[in-house]
């Protein structure tokens, strides 16, 4: 099919082109309590073609189209001609295409890539239910997706790279009926099958659900030292990936510059060291991906993003990253980090960090109020909000680590004096 597309592109004569072929397979299982709701599988192939057009002034316009695998020849030619014509109306300042790369990346030797997807789905579904043994909480429902994706990128500049990747992801809901009937939602995503990690996550979430069932709506409005854990730490730190992206810097939404201190720690608190972790060998533009230092002790080291915006800024094009790693080793063990008084917000209905405004916030579904006298009370309800720009100099991290497909780093962070709207 790629050769067919290339043949159809020739008469259109764009200044440059890129073709991405994606072949995706899945095995999917859906459960309601300990019953199988639905089995699904998927086998699809797509071709995304990006055509670039250049005008006499050196400006470049581009259009991307997605094509099905069995498109008729005449339809293919028409769609490509139409896309190339359209590109002439979306002209932007000129830029160089990504440097050519030829590589057939060696496929990772993992069970996910070597075994039938159904086998991995079986392993992970067993892991899902293995710890569904809590005395009062149980799995209400779960969804499991095992995915394998083969990608090939070919371009007019000579790039020809291919690789195979995969992922196991999904979600589950833990429920506890007494004394209050409550639930906690939890999603998961692993680049490699991780049955032990999934079982541990289920056990922890069931325990949180049991605590939420006895949580009280007693939280008073006020200012609290806030403890965030797990994926919520990654959400906070996504502020730094957002603000350092070429896509935000080029239009002036972010004023960050490489070499500048974008996070300055006050005495006794931690300077941030962050890395972008490559989870795929190439970006969707065919740019080789590698791990990169984003912040070193609060100083911005990398501006990252797609080819066009990085070229505009005179930066090396890095591709778009999915995983952020926090390299801080942490100041304190978690037990010491949550020294009283503080509020450990465990789960939210939806916790968000807005990289534009710098505001973080969400409504708590389970938090632990840890008081001066050591009393720990599960609480529910109330919302937190803070401007990270005002708090970022006073961050403390735990020594314990957390790993997921999107965030790796300290398990917990403590942020002082966060506003809470309580009962």
């Amino acid at each position: 099919m790629i050769n067919r597309i290339i043949d159809a592109i020739r008469p259109v004569a764009p200044a440059a082109w890129r073709i991405e072929e994606r072949k995706e397979e899945t095995a999917e299982l859906f459960f309601v309590k300990k019953q199988l709701d639905t089995r699904r599988s998927k086998d699809v192939t797509y071709y995304t073609v990006t055509l670039f057009r250049k005008d006499d002034a050196g400006r470049i316009g581009s259009t991307a189209i997605t094509l099905p695998p069995e498109i008729a020849w005449n339809d293919l030619k028409k769609k490509l001609a139409d896309a190339c014509y359209a590109a002439s109306f979306a002209m932007n300042p000129g830029y160089a295409m990504p440097d050519p790369v030829q590589a057939a990346a060696e496929a990772k030797k993992t069970p996910l890539l070597e075994k039938p997807l159904a086998e991995t789905a079986a392993v992970m579904s067993r892991a899902l239910f293995e710890k569904d043994t809590h005395p009062s909480a149980f799995l209400n429902s779960a969804e499991l997706f095992v995915e394998r994706k083969k990608t090939r990128i070919v371009s007019s500049e000579g790039t020809d790279v291919s690789w195979t990747g995969g992922r196991v992801n999904g979600e589950f809901v833990a429920q506890c009926k007494e004394p209050e009937d409550v639930e906690i939602y939890q999603d998961f995503s692993y680049d490699d099958p991780a049955p032990e990690a999934l079982s541990a996550l289920v056990a922890e979430t069931l325990s949180f659900a049991a605590d939420r069932a006895r949580a009280q709506k007693i939280l008073k409005s006020g200012s609290y030292d806030l403890i965030l854990t797990g994926a919520n730490v990654g959400e906070i730190l996504s502020f730094y990936t957002g603000r350092s992206s070429a896509r935000m810097i080029y239009p002036g939404y972010s004023r960050w510059k490489k070499g500048e201190a974008v996070q300055e720690a006050q005495e006794g608190f931690e300077s941030l060291s962050l890395s972008l972790k490559a989870s795929e060998p190439f970006s969707e533009e065919g740019i080789p991906m590698k791990d990169r230092v984003l912040l070193d002790k609060g100083v911005l080291k990398t501006i990252h993003g797609s080819n066009r915006f990085c070229r505009y800024l005179g930066e090396e094009a890095t591709g778009d990253y999915r995983t952020l790693r926090c390299d801080n080793s942490g100041s304190l063990p978690f037990e010491a980090l949550k020294k009283a008084p503080c509020l450990w917000a465990v789960t939210f209905s939806d916790f968000q960090m807005d990289p534009m405004s710098g505001y973080l916030g969400g409504e708590m579904r389970l938090a632990y109020l840890i008081e001066e006298d050591g009393k720990v009370t599960p609480v529910t309800g109330g919302s937190v909000s803070a401007l990270l720009l005002e708090k970022q100099g006073q961050l403390l991290f735990s020594k314990e680590r957390y790993v997921s497909a999107r965030y790796e780093g300290p398990y917990a962070v403590r942020i002082p004096a966060v506003s809470v709207a309580g009962e």
């Binding site: 709701d37 089995r39 979306a90 002036g252 209905s349 579904r365």
Partner: protein, 470 residues
């Protein structure tokens, strides 16, 4: 459009017939789509013809001894029918044979397959393709340039996109065919306060075409004016206040706070408090809530992704919860009729119970009368996000703007950002005034949890209620 589907229609019928030899039920949903978006901002201009909705493919559904099984694919011809049947059987068998100990099939009666046949297209005035890329980008750019004339504006990002799709559903007794075109547009103005960047957006939507541009063009002054106001906004003092919701905020409460709680696949899972409240007062008698295709908006269609015909479902009738909305599998499990709410993100994804166009009916009170009735409170505008909590009916919605009202008048002070919290029935029972005119908006997508994005619209009238703000 999408004549390709006409060519393969006989083969699709043969596929269903072949599957029926092995399974008690078989259906296929075939979809083809065309999508295009245009955008302009300081980042440049862009045209894209591939996206979330631009899917072209097939999903078959069957019932075997274990229950429901599906297979999604995007290569099809009559010659491939044996291969598709073989792959489906292999995958279903492998999944059924490797279940963890103690996991059994969920008993599911086979959904009814009553005879139905229809073919229909939605209407539009100007197809975006006829208007053309050059003209559309020119008009979007004019909107942006006008916005940038306002001093203090960092940027104005303008966007329009449309989706035209055709879906064919074939089962033993059903042959359904629909073609729909919807268009949306939006503009976001940005302003800076130190390192803090504030934004304000407006979106527009229609079950139609590029005629929507006229509405976009009339809204730019409002967007730039409000973002400058936002730069002077203050943080909210948490508390419970008399609030007036604009139609967009009413829509967010309808959709996020209440609508997700009456999606009946949540009843099957015992995840929705609403299941125990059918027949009871859950809202003020001023509240009547609908979902369905009685209105023309972006989520209007003739049949859903399981082949159930759409209609108008009254969820709340003058404060009393009458019923939920339902997909076909959940309806079979609960022993009720499906309501045409079985929707997929695309042919690649599972069908869930999903909202369509969801809204409160209008009342008799004008917005001016509502403001005049408030001693101290806020006018809430411009919802930015919301999250459902069907199990506990907790509210988490965010709005961009709360305008202060004192002694029946707007003071000019504004607060931002605002988090709405509380218990859904408390909020709905506190509704004391409803405006006469309803407005629906379908600029965004709705997720089930954090995925499965489908196009929806929501709305209602101006509404007065008691709400906890933070």
């Amino acid at each position: 459009m999408f004549e390709h589907l006409d060519e393969i229609r006989p083969a699709l019928k043969k596929l269903v017939a072949a599957l029926r030899q092995d399974y008690a039920y078989a259906s296929v949903l075939a979809s083809d789509g065309d999508e295009r978006s245009w955008s302009i901002s300081r980042a440049g201009s862009a045209i894209s013809a591939g996206g979330r909705d631009g899917d072209c493919g097939f999903v078959v559904r069957v019932f075997d001894g274990t229950g429901c099984g599906e297979y999604s694919f995007n290569r099809f011809s009559e010659a491939m029918i044996p291969e598709i049947c073989r792959k489906l059987k292999e995958n279903l068998t492998a999944a059924a044979e490797t279940l963890p100990d103690g996991v059994a099939p969920l008993p599911t009666p086979i959904p009814a397959d009553e005879p139905a046949c229809l073919k229909k297209e939605s209407e539009y005035r100007i197809h975006p393709r006829e208007l053309g890329d050059e003209e559309i980008l020119k008009r979007l750019n004019a909107v942006r340039e006008k916005g940038l004339e306002t001093a203090g504006i960092l940027d104005v990002a303008v966007r329009m996109n449309y989706r035209s799709y055709r879906k064919i559903f074939i089962s033993e007794h059903r042959d359904l065919d629909q073609s729909i075109l919807w268009t949306t547009a939006s503009m976001v103005a940005f302003g800076r306060r130190g390192e803090e960047v504030k934004d304000y957006y407006r979106s527009f939507s229609t079950l139609g075409g590029a005629e929507l541009l006229e509405r976009l063009e009339s809204g730019v002054d409002d967007v730039t004016h409000v973002v400058l106001e936002l730069l002077k906004s203050e943080p909210m003092v948490p508390g419970e206040y008399d609030c007036i919701c604009d139609p967009e905020t009413t829509g967010m409460i309808v959709h996020e706070a209440f609508g997700h709680g009456v999606e009946m696949d949540m009843f099957v899972k015992d995840r929705a408090l609403a299941r125990s409240c059918v027949g009871e007062y859950v809202a003020s008698p001023l509240v009547t809530m609908h979902d369905g295709s009685a209105v023309d908006e972006v989520a209007t269609f003739l049949f859903d992704d399981e082949g159930t015909l759409s209609g108008d479902t009254v969820i709340i009738d003058r404060g009393i919860l009458k019923r939920g909305m339902c997909d076909a599998l959940s309806a079979a499990r609960l022993g009720v009729k499906p309501t045409g709410n079985g929707r997929r993100e695309s042919f690649e994804r599972k069908a869930y119970t999903r909202m369509t166009n969801t809204y409160f009916e209008g009342g008799t009170d004008t917005p001016e009368e509502m403001i005049a009735s408030v001693k101290y409170g806020f006018l809430l505008e411009n919802p930015s996000s919301g999250m459902e909590d069907p199990k506990n009916w907790g509210i988490q919605c965010m709005v961009n703007i709360a305008r202060e009202i004192k002694d029946g008048k707007l003071t000019g002070r504004i607060f931002s950002p605002i988090v709405l919290t509380g218990y859904v029935p408390d909020l709905l029972k506190s509704v004391s005034m409803m405006g006469p005119d309803i407005q629906l908006g379908g600029g965004g997508y709705c997720g089930k949890g954090y995925k499965e994005w489908v196009k929806v619209s929501d709305g209602g009238p101006y509404m007065k209620a008691r709400i906890r703000l933070g």
